[in-house]
């Protein structure tokens, strides 16, 4: 696992252009025609969009197998040393292929899922823009270029989460309609969801932009693989390092919905399920952790060992684990299909952050583990979302529910769900077990370097995680309340999520056959006693979760309300905003009063008194002038005397 300095290589720029622009251009026909006509012809143009995604997917596969690892540089602003730089390395080639595959598969699924939608032009344009932006983030070595993709993700997520902007379909809401807790409305519409997403992300993007600007000012380069990180951190000292990295990581923290910026992810469930699936697996939230991995990959914190860097990595480790535990607990208490999955995503992202942060003590292997977990999670989570979308479609119900009738009538769906959940939970000997075992090993090593907490957290989280996955399966297909099924079609959707879940088997094969060099380590970690014990514990939790999926108690109620984190988004920050508006209003009034009332009145008054002197009486004038003259001459005489 050597990361020797990457060579600069040549590749036809047309390939990169096609990779990023094929999906966007392919969405133009439907985007432009849809507002004018919504007939069957326009609906067929969706296929063209998916074709664009397919082209991108093919190119990512081409890059994975046929393009050498290295940097591909094309001049942009050569005078200040900024170029289009694409990097193909261990992280980006897999991540690119993952993004390409998932986006394409979900695109296919969307052909059926969205076929009756009223805003297809909007949907496909933003969906494809979303994919292209993510690919740009994945392959960019240059931070400025990466920011373009980063912003593309932001705007596209806003467009897609708020896709059903009319807020007229209760099926697209999050929370129980009309439920209230004190000052908080505990239900959210699609338009609210879109707004919350973009507004939260901007909070993190601003400091991130400044940090990127600072990096450029301090080092003169923006290429992640070329920035002299160690030198930079030494030059700016401990406080400087902490401020710079923290500002930079605000972007990933908000994008990946770590505490306390998690609420937008929960209400992002107001978007179409395809959007949730894409957003939660390969794009958007993954972009945050991916960026942290990619930067850590080249910072090589294990070689730096500066206090400032250590502080940041401890912070990320703690934040990741706490967010993960929070996410898992909220998922355990959730009653909505998609919100449960959203919270579980947050939990997984936390683990990815934590594991990557462990690289400070463990080395590059920790990042590889986090990255493999990202991949495994992406396929499993995409599958679960697609399944959730399908059953919401068939039951017209976004809350958990479904008895054995659902199981028997949607057997394939149920089996796919079962497989995806037990694989993701980390039950031996399935895919996630090996990756999780490696993560166990990483956290166990931290017992000596940090303390036992990270490992304890990880085991707890794994257990809870397994339990709510079991709950998801049980309440949807076995033990839930009775629901009415409206079965019709669904063939394309089934194909899509079956293809998606089969990728978990491909990964399993990669591990077993030792195709990737990391696989060997995973197998080794999986055969350690501790890992096996954790695996058994997880299995027990899954069984327990299946047997008793519901248990009402006080803590559960609080977790069901997501520990009231929405207080921040919906109450405190608006209150602060109103306070600022109030101050600005007072200032405005003051300004208005000064400019329109006070100053005119003042000058009017002075003017009138100046004119009042003109009484017409010469005697009076003479008195005034003579006294002024005498006074001035008197003063000057005294001054002149000295």
């Amino acid at each position: 696992m050597e990361t020797a300095a990457l060579m600069e290589l040549e590749l036809n720029p047309g390939i990169w252009l096609m990779l990023f622009f094929a999906p966007i251009l392919a969405s133009f026909p439907i985007a432009f025609i849809w507002p004018k006509r919504q007939d069957s012809f326009a609906r067929k143009l969706s296929i063209l969009s998916v074709l664009g995604l397919f082209v991108s997917f093919l190119i990512t596969v081409f890059i994975l197998f046929r393009v050498e690892e290295g940097r591909y540089v094309y001049p942009w602003l050569p005078s200040i040393g900024i170029n289009f730089v694409f990097v193909v390395d261990y992280l980006s080639k897999y991540m690119g292929a993952l993004t390409g595959f998932i986006a394409f598969t979900i695109g296919v699924y969307g052909l059926e899922y969205m076929k009756d939608d009223y805003r297809l032009g909007w949907y496909w344009f933003f969906f494809n823009l979303f994919t292209a932006s993510m690919l740009l983030v994945v392959y960019s070595d240059n931070l400025l270029m990466l920011l373009i993709g980063w912003e593309g993700l932001g705007i596209a997520s806003w467009g897609l989460i708020g896709h059903w902007f009319r807020d007229d379909d209760e099926l697209s809401y999050v929370g129980v309609i009309d439920r209230k807790m004190g000052p908080l409305k505990m239900f959210w519409s699609p338009s609210t969801g879109g707004w919350r997403a973009i507004s939260t992300i901007r909070v993190g993007d601003m400091p991130m932009f400044l940090a990127v600007a600072a990096i450029f000012a301090l080092t003169g380069t923006l290429d992640i693989s070329r920035i002299p990180w160690a030198e930079l951190f030494e030059n700016i000292g401990m406080a400087g390092t902490v401020i710079l990295l923290f500002a930079f990581l605000m972007g990933p923290f908000t994008k990946s919905a770590q505490l306390p910026f998690s609420e937008w992810l929960m209400t992002a469930m107001t978007g179409p399920t395809t959007v949730s699936a894409l957003l939660h697996s390969a794009t958007m939230v993954a972009a945050g952790t991916y960026l942290f991995m990619r930067v850590s990959w080249y910072i090589k914190p294990w070689e730096i060992q500066l206090a400032g860097v250590e502080i940041i990595y401890i912070l990320v480790l703690s934040l990741g684990l706490i967010s993960s535990l929070y996410g898992a607990s909220v998922a355990l208490a959730s009653r909505e299909r998609k919100v449960l999955l959203a919270a579980s995503t947050m939990s997984s992202l936390g683990l990815m952050f934590a594991s990557s942060a462990a690289s400070f003590w463990i080395g590059e292997f920790a990042i590889v583990v986090a990255f493999w977990y990202l991949i495994t999670h992406a396929f499993a989570k995409a599958t679960l979302f697609l399944v959730a979308g399908h059953i919401i479609h068939e039951t017209h119900d976004r809350f958990l529910g479904g008895d054995r009738e659902v199981f028997s009538k949607m057997k394939l769906t149920a089996l796919v769900t079962l497989f995806a959940t037990i694989t993701l939970a980390g039950i031996p000997p399935l895919t996630a077990y090996w990756v999780k075992s490696a993560m166990d090993e990483v956290m166990e090593k931290l017992v000596h370097e940090v303390n036992i907490l990270p490992f304890a957290f990880l085991v707890t989280i794994s257990v809870i995680y397994s339990a709510f996955l079991a709950k998801f399966f049980a309440l949807n297909f076995w033990k839930g309340r009775h629901v009415h099924l409206h079965l019709h079609g669904g063939g394309v959707m089934k194909t899509a999520y079956t293809a998606m879940v089969s990728m978990l088997l491909v990964l399993l094969a990669v591990i077993y056959l030792g195709i990737d060099h990391a696989a060997e380590e995973f197998i080794k970690a999986g055969t350690v006693e501790v890992s096996f014990m954790v695996g058994i514990l997880v299995l027990v939790a899954y069984v327990a979760g299946f047997i008793k999926p519901e248990h009402e108690n006080f803590i559960g109620k609080i977790l069901y309300d997501r520990v009231y984190v929405m207080l921040l988004n919906d109450y405190l920050i608006p209150k602060i905003g109103w306070a600022i508006a109030w101050i600005v209003d007072i200032f405005n009034r003051f300004l208005d009063f000064t400019a329109h009332t006070f100053i005119p009145a003042l000058f009017g008054g002075i003017s009138v008194s100046i004119r009042a002197v003109q009484s017409g009486s010469l005697e009076r004038y003479a008195k005034i002038v003579v006294s002024f003259v005498l006074a001035i001459l008197f003063i000057v005489s005294i001054v002149g005397w000295f």
């Binding site: 000058f603 009017g604 002075i606 003017s607 009138v608 100046i610 004119r611 002197v613 003109q614 017409g616 010469l618 009076r620 004038y621 003479a622 005034i624 002038v625 003579v626 002024f628 003259v629 001035i632 001459l633 000057v636 005489s637 001054v639 002149g640 005397w641």
Partner: protein, 407 residues
Amino acid sequence: MQFAIPAVLILALSGAFSLRFKYVGFAGALVASALMVVNNPLLLMVFVIALLNLASLDLMKGFLRGVDYTLVGLIFVSTSFAFYSQSLAFLLTMFVVASVPTYMLVMASDKEIRMEVGIKYITFMVVATILFMIGAILMVHASATSSMGLYYLAFTMLLLGLAIEVGAGPFHEWVPDVFDSADPIPVSVIASIAKFVPFVVAFKIISSTYMGGDVLILITGIIAVASMFIGNIGALTSSKPSRILAYSTVANMGYIISTLAVALYTEYVYIAFAGAMLLLLTNSLGKIGFFVGIKEDAMPKIETYILSLSFIGIPPLMGFWGKLYVLASLVYANLVWIAFFLVINSAMSVPYYIRLIRIFEDKKDFRKLAGYLVTVTAVLMLITVVPPNWIIESSRILMKYLAIGGV
């Protein structure tokens, strides 16, 4: 200048004959003025203003008919002489010669002699003349004997005399009354051609005798700024055009007095002088135009706009360049605080000049001659569309005549 004596003789004879044939007075004034013209752009502009004043007198009918031409001619002769004279005695004489004809003019009107206005005006002028002359002579004396204390006093007397003479605040009390109650045409003479001599003489005496002393700059600056504020604020709530113009004159005199503070720094005097003269030209043209309008109670529309905008200081009209040069000289001389107040005051003047436009906007019933006169003033405001380097050049040439002989 060799024609000064013939010019005065011609004026005397034509003045006498004009009692019988009034246009003899006009012809005499023209010939005398023409004799005194020098080929210098600034002097030519002053000559044009004299011609405008002479022409505008034709709008009056009254007891001074005929002699009034002679009086205006006399003012121009003294003005021209004052620009080139380097003798203290002559300069002070010109100060009186340029001032006294206005005593008579101010009382003239279409029907009767306006004695009350005359008394008011003459009282102020007498006080001003005495202060100015005593101040001037003492300055020369103090400078010769290097007596600083006396110089302070003398300088202040001269400054106060000048302020009262031209109507700067807070010695402006006569201005609104006279501008309002005298006949508009004599007022336009008082407000235009008669204003040059006091400033030219003051410039010459100050720059020839200056002995240093920041206090004097401070006093000059304070009087200048006070005058700007009194003029502009006073005009803000005035509604009669003659009153607005009276306060506008007070404000303009403030701008021009501020250049005297620069006269104490010899290297920038020519810019200050150019700015002062350009502001006086602007003021003269504007006042002639507007007072002719007041006489007729009507003005041509576009011309009204041009005159008002020039007073406000919109480029490329003449008023803009005058203020620009004054500001430049103030900044060069490190008197930024005066420049700051000048800019604020310029902004404050906008509402009342716009009010002037409003007042005359819809009034169209004027005599032909009045219309022509206003048009000429407006056109002259436009000659600075080409940046007025001529005023700087004239000013540089006239600097040679700045030093008073024997001082």
